[in-house]
Symmetry: C3
Subunit: 666 residues, 3 copies
């Protein structure tokens, strides 16, 4: 792909009347160049068992070719037709809440043989029908695929087989999972109980891990099918989504996206986020960084909001700001869900570029301006490469572990709260970061490694963190890291297991804080704060205390420590506290790691990278409703959209929700 | 009926010991003249299949005849005997929550053939037994009949037939309901899925409408049965109830009462409402106006609170005030639920006129005073006719639509919140109103028509509203009106669909307000407010702006507009705001409509009408704990209960929770 | 037992590696002398049907004997093995929520014949295997046994039989339970519906009572089995637990512990409570007093927190304070749940004496100090006998009644809230009390009897209260007492039924207060307060008003009255109000009852009793983070732990969370 993709999901199927010519013309006027189609339309593609109807698809492909638009085709398997639901009792997923009813998307059992048989047929038939169309640039496998909590017969049988493969010795299995507790011991695989009733966190977490593997297996199977048909220059992707808190929030609990992405050519995702006064760019940055980490390359934004949900209608200027925010993180596309708002069913108030009236509206008009800019300047912005000096290690296993044993007061999203707490501090301080995962074996490329709440980890990961510090790395690791192994079995020795050496501290007790203040020491002298959610009663061994508890009984313990170990430095954070206090800590530590931070902070955000011409691109954003100024201290450049030179040392003022993109000249 | 009815529900069946003589004497002492019996007593009437026992009923009828009391007989079908529940697997309703268990009333499937067979037999046997009793003045069909969420086999089959009748063409059906979305298309009626799983708002809303029709059909069937036996001078009624928010709140979602009332002779209902410091009369007024609208005539209060629920124990004087409030709205009866408090089971703390001790208590003693007054002055108050110049149009379809797609922050009762918001403003300003429904074809009798949130409406209704204004009417229409058609398919053109001409404005975007102030213009200059829940970004075309948004980005748009159209005037309200701001708007508009409002407002409330002697009756209420005064500026009259003349222009002071009823002399 | 028991639950089964020797040595170092084992380990004892494995058990018994530790053996029946769950469809309890899944403990149907058959075999096999071991001092039947909401086939059949036994006459049954209401009448026992659907509070309450009887029957059956094997000097106990509100709160709803304890030799229980700044001792006192009341003797603390839950980690000093708090209430043991923290499954964060790292930690070190003290001074503290002059009457039936018909705003624990409200006032005022239950026939031993919210009571209990006052007793009885009979049938006469004579007042109306202040009269002149949750509109007959409502309409009524009756005095409390106001009332009344209260109040708490040597032991606790002083005005004594004399009249200062134990010398 030699240009940025700009477009929207388009559903000819959902139209109340024929709009295809008008819509294509409106898209072209907006300089859109891609539509994403066919995902979730199985019932129109195959209205009855074995009866196929490609009318809508052909219309869209014809129109795309006529108007010179690219097309991304989604396989339609994430929403099944009504007739298919009646083929077998086991197609609709049986979950913790019992059998699913037909109606919703994503309600099928992705391990069900009947479902898989029909899914294969529709994919093959579809691919056969379209494989020669020139407008198709790529394929999206399914959509936002997850395991949907399947715990039906087939899935549970597969789980027992999966356990048997891991544990030939039942006694070892019982010991590792602690099944003697509450008489849960399994002494014969045929006694294995319905997993839905388990109260064993280790077993429940293993089922979650297994379920994530089902997603990887399913997507790999689809990828193999599509790959049989697709042309060399067409890509395979997925529309990954993120943990959802009314918007995209963090690491996806139900998919190991790092594993699942292996069968794909390019990572794709959707990112939805607050807007208006709540637009911060933090979700675009964090989720975008995950997406960039999946293939360690640029990625596609396959869906993001145009008008979006009720609260998201962008202020004038924000639609453009949001698009450039994505590009500044390494996205090579901005695609809206969706072109037009839908007139029936569930998501009628998740609005597209057009409202239900199909007329030009302020959002559309801003998209037109954006499209023109992307067309003119896109070649400067495409394939932005980042060479970040900081990285954050995230872990699905730790996420699941903290779902089982959450922080007090953060029961719903302990892990992502912990991860976002640290990641957003880096974001506010203008430290760009890459995302690593436990399968990454080399951290040595980074000056700063941040490991939030790595609750569950194999020995090898912990030992790699230790090595990283010994060899000169700078590590920030936060509360409850190193607590349990990969099966959520708590390590039966000094905490934090495997990290006491590099961190130079230990603890064996923790509690929930009530009125526990924090007091800075040494480099953080004068800094104060309030402990939240969870406090570990840390005893420094070789470490220096950066923050200690200001409390009649816990005052003897440290909250945050810093330890020289080998050639490196390790910071252990044993509790939560205010963002401002954290920013002071992270800024101090980043400087120790040799990172040079800009003089400004959030709401002024700087993102940078190198374009294909080897030129440095710098995005400056003002995520606030107030004008903001800063000194441009990079080498002389050109402000791209204005085509105006910017001299080093000049003072730049950004309007409310304003931004500048400056290409360095030297 | 030539006199007001005053009485209570009476259950000889529930008595811990024989009280019938004492109770009748106590009722007579209170000048009560009617009891309502037999509803919900199937298990005593038919203790075993085909074994009938009329002991309790005969005792009550005998006593009623001895003490010259009227009787209203309820058919006992809304609570089934334990033996009947065992007759078939499908008698107890299967709902979204699965099969119902026996115990509760209103848990049966009203489409179940077995239930209907036994219901017919008990009705016929009962009617045969009592049809010659002279004390019976009327029959109540079932009680608070609804559909109970039935989604069993029979109901779902009926639903598919009902759809087939409407849509001979499956493609048209799929298009109208937007079933292509998420692959929900139905290409063969035999594929029709379990409606309980649907995520299609249009389909779900249609099932709600269908379910309301089940209620109409059921009541019509019962009415036909009862009519075979009843005497000419006996009436048929129903005890309709209202959307329940710990008290009667607004339009009933589960019944189209306008349709269902067609098979009845007189409308009946129950109204429960807050009391003590929270007594405002607003529920009595709004729900009473609905009841009055059902047959466009006077109605029966078949149930209201005596002591009622814990919070409702009336302050001294309030029991009388409440009764007169009902009469002032056009009720011809005040009947309590219930005579005595119940000693077992669920509603023991929903107290009657008597406490569990059966002794005289302050509530009973106040009922005695009330009964004496009603006897003495009832002929002046009976059959009060109203000739209101204002009307409010309410719609079950719009209610369901907003249940599917609610206002932000008003998820539980979007529609009735919107309706009450406007209706209560009229109430506070002393504008009495009638209630219309979408089946009403002529609005021309009214100077002011208020249409709250008419989210779902056929073209014809919208066009009637347009015509109304063109022909000189004054219309207030509020946010989200004209958004979707009768199948909840959003109109694919300029919003508000069908109303842009008369309202002289349009919008295509909306959002949830955060810190969005309102600023008055023109006639509302100086008025301020804060937008709530939902704001439409209205652009006036020919309209004048009355309120605009005071906001850096939405300031370009209007919140409330006013437009001269034809001979009339239309006010469009594009958001919610404070009551005080609304009162200013409504007062302005009502004056434009030529209504003359009293100089006083809530808590001083004036209700008026004309009695059978052609005399004007005016009720003045002080709904507050503070004394209040006003100038009586109607022609000279008589204060009825005091039998004192009141001269025009005299100053009247009402005690806390006090009232006066003045009959105009001229 | 001639010494205090000090120890912990110990699970060799749950160990990640062999720790038994080390653990025994650490326990001995802490002067622990008892372990509690085997409860909940069925799946290790009988890994497959009929295959028994006593390895873990034998190891623990061998070690105990080697280290001279006592052992309490729990029968393992409260958690079933996975293989057993598959033996029958009816082993796992069917409850209101449907069938249970395997995984959780306490999920079986304790009436299921298959379960009982296998339970008997494991108990017999276990007893046979261990009965000669010398270290075993006693047996615990099952653990925290309850009925688990069982409403399966067997349980429901038993319920109908149980009703038939009580009611040979179906009409009498229908009348007593008020089943005519909503057509719930049962005219043939074969019509009896699934109890899970009932809306009849009387019937639901009777099922609760019946379910409590199932627990008594089950424990009695187990006791009989164990008694066949156990030696004369071994005791049988149970680990009773209490109504749970994140901690032990009050009377257990699901067990009639007074009945169930009859088959045991000594009462045992677990008490968990808030700690850190929230440690008040109130739960230890209230629940401990219930435990002491079960056999009217000393009791065992079989479980309490060491580190416990996250919020409970004790401040330095609190572990000892907590232990002595238990002893001061009459406990003869302090046993922790559990020795070590568990590395897998559900309760990993319910921490034991040791953390997961098994190392010495502050909690363990404090346990060592405590163990040494208990060893040295235990003989002075053992078998503490109390001769309290006050008693509180608690009732399972009243608890259930208020679960059905709760106080407004206290829906979840109306009864225990009401009981704790009064009991905690006595506690704060340093009035120690015994706990009585409705089966106690003699109240005459007490100068002060407090009866909270006795909502449901047989005539005989009410008449005993009346007699108590007449004969000179001082009774405090609170709102809603005497309202309904033992079947939750509301008494159909003047309220409070059966108490109007002794209390000299009556009421027939009540409501929820809004802004209702309280005003003291007579002895309480000057006292003020605010009414909460529920107010009865009390009319004094012969009584004097102590508190009246300060309100424009309810001002005519009394809130609290006091009445001389016979030789006694009765105080009726008709509402709830602030603790401070209550303390003033209770202090006044206690003095009327002739009790002499210490000059100090909470947070300074005095508990006392007589030890086996006939010496008076007084515990003085300071439940606060601030130093506190008081005058020791008892006869000269010895401060035990310090071995220092304390002279009468000397001033004693207690450190924050400090205490003293003084043995009187004379």
């Amino acid at each position: 792909m030699d240009h940025l993709l700009f477009g929207a999901a388009y559903y000819d199927e959902y139209m109340p009347f024929d709009r295809i010519e008008t819509d294509m013309q409106m898209m072209k006027k907006a300089n859109m160049n891609v539509i994403r189609i066919a995902e979730s339309t199985w019932s129109t593609l195959e209205p009855q068992d074995g009866v196929f109807d490609f009318t809508h698809l052909d219309r869209m492909l014809d129109a795309a070719e006529k108007y010179d638009m690219h097309v991304i085709i989604g396989t339609p398997t994430y929403a099944i037709p009504s007739w298919l639901a009646k083929k077998s009792d086991t197609i609709l997923a049986v979950t913790k809440d019992g059998p699913s009813l037909y109606g919703h998307r994503q309600n099928m059992d992705i391990t069900d043989p009947t479902y898989l048989k029909y899914a294969e047929r529709i994919i093959r038939t579809l691919m056969e029908h379209i494989k020669d169309r020139s407008c198709i640039i790529g394929y999206q496998l399914d959509n936002e695929t997850k395991h949907y909590g399947t715990a039906g017969k087939h899935a549970q049988e597969l789980f027992v087989s999966y356990l048997k493969e891991q544990f030939s010795d039942l006694s070892a299995f019982n010991l590792e999972f602690g099944l003697d507790y509450w008489s849960n011991r399994v002494n014969d695989w045929s006694d294995f109980p319905d997993i839905r009733g388990t109260i064993n966190g280790s077993l429940a977490a293993e089922y979650e891990k297994f379920s994530r593997k089902l997603v990887t297996d399913f997507l790999t199977w689809q990828s193999d099918l599509v790959r049989e048909y697709k042309k060399e220059d067409q890509f395979i992707t997925q529309n990954f989504d993120f943990e959802w808190h009314d918007y995209s929030y963090g690491l996806q609990p139900d998919v190991n996206q790092f594993e699942a992405a292996k069968c794909m050519d390019i990572a794709g995702c959707d990112i939805y986020h607050p807007s208006q006064d709540d637009l911060t760019g933090a979700e675009i940055n964090f989720c975008g960084s995950i997406a960039r980490g999946l293939k360690k390359s640029n990625y596609l934004i396959l869906e993001t909001e145009a008008q979006g949900n009720l609260e998201w209608l962008p202020y004038p200027g924000q639609l453009r700001m949001q698009a450039y925010s994505h590009l500044s993180c390494g996205a090579d596309s901005v695609m809206y869900w969706h072109w037009h708002s839908i007139h029936n069913s569930l998501e009628s108030y998740w609005k597209g570029v057009l409202s239900h009236d199909f007329s030009e509206n302020p959002t559309y008009l801003e998209a037109c301006r954006l499209g023109a800019e992307m067309k003119t300047y896109g070649s400067h912005l495409l394939h932005l490469k980042k060479t970040n000096r900081a990285a954050i290690l995230v872990s699905n296993e730790a996420l699941t572990g903290l779902l089982m044993f959450p922080f007090k007061g953060r029961e719903n999203s302990s892990y992502n709260d912990a991860a976002r707490w640290l990641a957003d501090s880096l974001y506010r301080l203008n430290i760009e970061f890459d995302i690593l995962n436990p399968a990454d074996t080399d951290f040595s490329g980074y000056d700063l490694l941040v490991v939030p709440a790595l609750y569950a980890a194999e020995e090898s990961v912990l030992s790699r963190m230790n090595d990283y510090v010994r060899n000169g790395g700078h590590l920030i690791v936060s509360t409850r890291s190193g607590f349990s192994n990969e099966h959520l079995k708590i390590y039966p020795d000094m905490q934090p297991h495997g990290l006491t050496d590099c961190c130079g501290m230990h603890y064996s007790q923790f509690t929930a804080p009530k009125n526990v203040a924090l007091k800075g020491n040494g480099a953080l002298s004068g800094i104060t704060g309030t402990a939240r959610n969870w406090i570990e009663l840390v005893t420094p061994d070789t470490a220096e205390t950066l923050l200690s508890y200001d409390h009649p009984y816990w005052g003897a313990y440290s909250a945050v420590t810093c330890n020289h170990y080998g050639k490196g430095l390790a910071c252990y954070i044993g509790c939560f506290f205010e963002d401002g206090t954290l920013d002071a800590l992270v800024a101090f530590f980043a400087k120790e790691a040799g990172l040079s931070l800009p003089a400004f902070r959030f709401p002024l955000i700087l993102h940078e990278g190198t374009n294909e011409n080897g030129k440095k691109i710098r995005y400056f954003f003002n995520y606030s409703g107030r004008e903001a100024s800063f000194t441009y201290d990079a080498p002389d450049g050109i402000s791209l959209l204005e085509e105006k030179p910017v001299a080093q040392g000049s003072q730049i003022t950004l309007a409310p929700w304003g931004f500048k993109i400056i290409e360095q000249q030297a």
